[in-house]
Assembly symmetry: C2
Homo-oligomer: 394 residues x 2
Amino acid sequence: MLNKHRLLTPGPTPLPEQVRLALAQDMIHHRKAAFKDIMQRVQGRLRLLFGTEQPVLPLSCSGTGAMTAAVHALFAPGEKVLVVNGGKFGERWAEIALTRGLECVRLDVPWGQAVDPAAVAQALEADPHIRGVLMQLSETSTGVLHPVQEVATMTRARDVLLVADGISAVGLSPCPMDEWGIDCLLTGSQKGLMLPPGLALLALSARAWQKAEANPSGCFYFNLPKERDNVLKGQTLFTSPVNLIVGLDVSLDMLLKDGLDALYRKQWALTMLTRTAVSVMGLELFAPAHYAWGITSVQLPAGIDGVEVLRLAQEHYGVIMAGGQDQLKGRIVRIGHMGWVDWADVTAGLYALNRCLFAVGGYSGARDYLEQGLAAYETALAVPPGTPVERRHS
Amino acid sequence: MLNKHRLLTPGPTPLPEQVRLALAQDMIHHRKAAFKDIMQRVQGRLRLLFGTEQPVLPLSCSGTGAMTAAVHALFAPGEKVLVVNGGKFGERWAEIALTRGLECVRLDVPWGQAVDPAAVAQALEADPHIRGVLMQLSETSTGVLHPVQEVATMTRARDVLLVADGISAVGLSPCPMDEWGIDCLLTGSQKGLMLPPGLALLALSARAWQKAEANPSGCFYFNLPKERDNVLKGQTLFTSPVNLIVGLDVSLDMLLKDGLDALYRKQWALTMLTRTAVSVMGLELFAPAHYAWGITSVQLPAGIDGVEVLRLAQEHYGVIMAGGQDQLKGRIVRIGHMGWVDWADVTAGLYALNRCLFAVGGYSGARDYLEQGLAAYETALAVPPGTPVERRHS
C-alpha cells in the first residue's frame, strides 16, 4: 500500500486505462466484419506513424519475430548483409542473419556510441556484394539512437536494402520511412504503442516488396507478401492477436490525438528531463552524443552494484527500472520513459535512483536535480511546434 | 439491444469475465520476479492439461506459428514426413513441411472422415525413410477427431516422431501426451483455453528433445531448446505476451477447478447436445463417425446457401457461427462449442440455425430438437465420473 508500482523499463511499458479496458472486451471473430472495420481503421493511422504509403502489417509475434520475418523475406541464403553491431540488438541482427544462412559483415561500434555514417559508406564501398544493411534506430540495450536517416541516403542510392529495427523508436522519435528511404521499418507493441507485447508491426518499401515477392522466405509462418494481401482486405494471414488490435485502435487514437509533433515533443521533453537531472546528479550518460527519446542509460559510479540499486528502487519506492544486459549487467541503469509514462513518473524514477545510489554507498547524493530536470522539461515543451531537433536545444 | 452477441465459432471463443479482467491489468515486466512466479504457477497446470512431465513452452505466435516451430525444430531439409491430409489444417502441415524443404508423403483422407490407422501403418511400412507423422487431433475445418492414440502406437515403436496439432483439441478432449506417446503436442490460446489469440503452447517428448537439440531450426525466432532453457527459469526466450500469460493463470484455474474429467465431460455433453439436436432437425452431420468435442460440423441440405444462413443468424439472432472453408464454403456450418460457452449458448445457436435454415427456404423446420438435445446433454453429464468415452453412449 505504501508505493504504487511504476514501470520505467524500456518495454513493456505501463498501459493507459482506456487501452486496458479495450483489451478486456469480449472476443470478436478475426474473419468477420467488425474486426475488418477495426483493421481498416488502424491501417491509416499506422501509415501516418510509420510515415509510409505502404501497408503496415500486424504480425502475431514479438519484435524479434518481425526482425526474423524481415530477414527471411528480404534476403536469400548466401546473400551478404552489413550489420551495425553496437549492442545486444545489433548482435541479434547478426544472429538472425547467420541463422538464415546469410553472409554477415559486422560493423562493430562501441556500446554507447552511434555508428559513424562514414564507416557505413566505407563498408559499402569496400564490398559491392552487400545487399542489405541491418541496424537499429534505437539500440535498446545502450540507449543510443543510430543515424538511420544518414545511412538511408547511401542505401537508397545503391542496390542495398536498409532494414531498420524501430522497436524502441516508432512512436517515440521521428522515423518517416518513405521520406528517409528506409526499406523495412518494424516495431513491437510494448514500447511506444502503449500495448502489451505480442503484436509486431512491419512495413516494406516498394523496392523491398519487389524483392520479397521473388524471394521464398523458407519459413511458412513468415510470409510477408501473403500477409500484405490479407491486410489489404482487413485481415491477417493467420489468426490475429485480436485483443491487441482492438487495443491498438484505442492507443493510436491517444497517440495521434494532437498530431505527431506533439507526440515526439513529449518524448523529447521527457528525455531532456531525465538527461538534465542525471547530469546534475553527477552521473555519466552512457549514450552521451546520440541518444534515443524513449530510454536514457546511465553509467553507474565505479564500485556501485547496479543490480542492488534496482532491487532497492523496486523494494523501497515501487520503481522498476532496467539494468544493463550482457557485459553491461550491473554497470548501467536504463530508465525507460516510453509508453504511458509522464513527467511525474519519470521524476519518481529519478528520485528513487538518487536515493538508492546513496543507500548503497559510494555516492554522496544530489540536490536540485529534480527542479533542474523539470525546468529542462518545461523548456523543451515550450519550443514552437515543428522546431527541428537540432534547434530544440537552443 | 435486441440480441447479445454469441460467438459460436471454433475459435476465437468468448472469454470469461475473470479472464478479461486479468487481461486488463496493468503491465508487469517479463524479466522480473512477479512474472516468473506466474510462469512457474502456470507450468504445472499446463503439464497436467497436456498430460506430460516435459515442460510446456509458451510461444508468442498463433497456432500456425507453433506448427511451423515444431517442423523446424524436429526435421531437417530433405527428411521425409507423412502428412495426414483430411482438411485445411492437414494441408497446412504439408505446406509447412514443403516450405521447410521436407519430402512430404500425403495420406489423403476425404474431408469429413478420420484417417484409418491401418492406412498410416501401411504408409509407414511402405516407406522406412519416413521420420515423422504430422496430423491433427481435431481437424478444425471438418470437425473430425483423428485417432492420434492409435497412430501413436505405431510411431512410438519406430524411429518416427508423431507431431499432433491439438489446436482445437487441448482442453476439449483427452490427449494425454506421455501416456499415448505423442512426440509433439501443440495448441493455441483462443480455443479450449478461453483466451484471446496470440499465445501458442508446445511440448516435446524426451526423444523429440534429443532430436531438436541436434537439429538447427533454420529460423532464429523458433528455437525450442533455448525456449525450454528459459521456461525452466520462469522466462521466455524473447518478450512474452505478458497479459495472455496473466490471463492463462486465471483460465487454467477455471478449467481445472473440478479436474480434467469434469472439463472433458462438459465438452462431451455439449457435443451430444449439438449432435442430437442437429440429427432431430434432419440434417446430416459432416463428421458422422469420428468427431471433435469442441466443434460440430453440419452439412446443409442441397440448394441452401450457407453463407446467407450465417448472415441471417448473426443479423436476426446475434449468433456468430462459422461456415465451411475452401471447397466447403457455403456447404457446411461449423458450430463451435468451445471456450467460455455453455448449454444455453449452444441452444441459442441451434435455435438460430433452425430458424435461419427455414427462412432461406428448402427446409421445413424442426420441432422438439432443443428438448431432445438438452435431454442428451443431461444424460451425458449424468454418467459416473471417469466413464470411458466408448461407454458414455450407453
